[in-house]
């Protein structure tokens, strides 16, 4: 038995110049707001950009983008709808507000399905928002999307870096491309703790983003979101790296 989806994935992704997965291992560090805001920033700069939400049991990028009510079109595959200049794909299109508890084997199946049948067309960059944990979807990305570069997000907390360190070790061990580490939700001054730890692992510390009390209110309002200190700091950190 032979699964034809696997042999078509590289084909489908061949029209995309660069694939960037936003990861952490840890939850709640800001992966989804960073992935969504990065996609918005890139679209505004004139890049052709796609955003894929792979946190299938608890997707959230649609909240940031206010993307409810969108529907993909079926035409020799699935054509993702466009919002704010981003080609956007999420399981939310098919789930509505219901819950879909999914086991790991099912998560793998969904990823394969989406990678094999989504027609992204020509893209400069595809951003992938990853779930927390170091489980099926992380292993599947490493297996099926070998070209992906990893943008790692942590908070200043040792609880958070405890997990991030392990993820970095995994990615390094497999020779995956690590773009660098973003430290999100700085409270007042940086402690330099994360920078030191990241550099000790010989990876790139990209910079810090402060905790921004105006972010929550701006979620769902893209104009407002792009004006927040959060978005400005994210832009200045990634300016020369991704944009």
């Amino acid at each position: 038995m032979f699964d034809p989806r696997i042999s078509i994935i590289d084909d489908r992704l061949s029209t995309i110049d660069r694939v960037i997965a936003v990861v952490s291992g840890k939850g709640g560090v800001g992966k989804s707001v960073i992935a969504s805001t990065l996609a918005l920033l890139l679209a505004k700069e004139g890049f052709k950009v796609g955003l894929l939400d792979v946190d299938f049991t608890s997707p959230t990028t649609h909240v940031v983008l206010n993307a409810s009510g969108l529907q993909p079109i079926e035409d020799k595959g699935i054509v993702p709808p466009e919002i704010h200049g981003i080609k956007y794909m999420s399981l939310v299109f098919y789930l509505g507000n219901t819950i879909s508890p999914l086991r790991g084997t099912e998560l793998t199946n969904i990823l394969l399905e989406i990678l094999a049948y989504t027609c992204w067309g020509r893209l400069d960059i595809l951003i992938i928002d990853m779930p927390p944990g170091i489980s099926d979807l992380m292993l599947d990305m490493l297996k099926y999307v070998k070209r992906a570069g990893y943008l790692i997000v942590t908070t200043p907390s040792k609880m958070s870096f405890e997990t991030v360190r392990k993820l970095i070790m995994l990615l390094k061990g497999l020779g995956a491309q690590i773009i660098g580490v973003v430290e999100n939700m700085l409270m007042s001054g940086s402690t330099e703790y994360i920078r030191r730890e990241v550099e000790a692992l010989r990876e790139r510390y990209l910079g810090g983003i402060h905790y921004d009390t105006s972010l929550e209110e701006s979620l769902g309002n893209v104009e407002e979101l792009l004006k927040t200190g959060f978005a400005l700091e994210l832009k200045s950190i990634l300016q020369n790296i991704i944009m």
Binding site: M1, P4, I8, D11, Y94, L102, N109
Partner: protein, 127 residues
């Protein structure tokens, strides 16, 4: 889907050093809701010269669920579902977990024990 099948068959044919591929058996899960004739037609349109004479046999596999909480098995009956739900399950069968529950215990923790995906179950060719 037709592209996926052709690309997979071509890959296997190359690997096996087939001069000619006689026939291909494709199993399509019922949940995929693919029309057999449409798929056959799409394959005919898209196949490269190398597969011009290949016979594509397409078989639909019935869908069934097995509950992981209580062990109950039941068949998929799409008639009870609304159109947009069918459409969603057509695209990704796993979203069934959002709309279907085990009829015995109410759990969403069931396995799609058949009827999902597309499989190339056999390729016959000549070297």
């Amino acid at each position: 889907m037709a592209e996926a099948i052709i690309s997979a068959v071509s890959e296997v044919a190359d690997k096996e050093n087939f001069k000619e591929v006689k026939s291909v058996l494709v199993l399509v899960g019922e949940l995929q809701q693919v029309d057999r004739e449409v798929l056959k037609f799409a394959i005919t349109q898209l196949r490269p010269d190398k597969l011009a004479k290949t016979r594509f046999i397409i078989r639909v596999v019935r869908a069934s669920f097995t509950c992981k909480a209580c062990g109950h098995k039941w068949p998929f009956r799409e008639s009870v579902l609304q159109d947009w739900v069918k459409e969603a399950i057509h695209f990704v069968p796993e979203v069934a977990h959002a709309y279907i529950r085990c009829p015995v215990c109410g759990s969403p923790d069931f396995e799609i024990s058949g009827g999902r995906g597309v499989w190339i179950a056999g390729i016959r060719g000549e070297r």
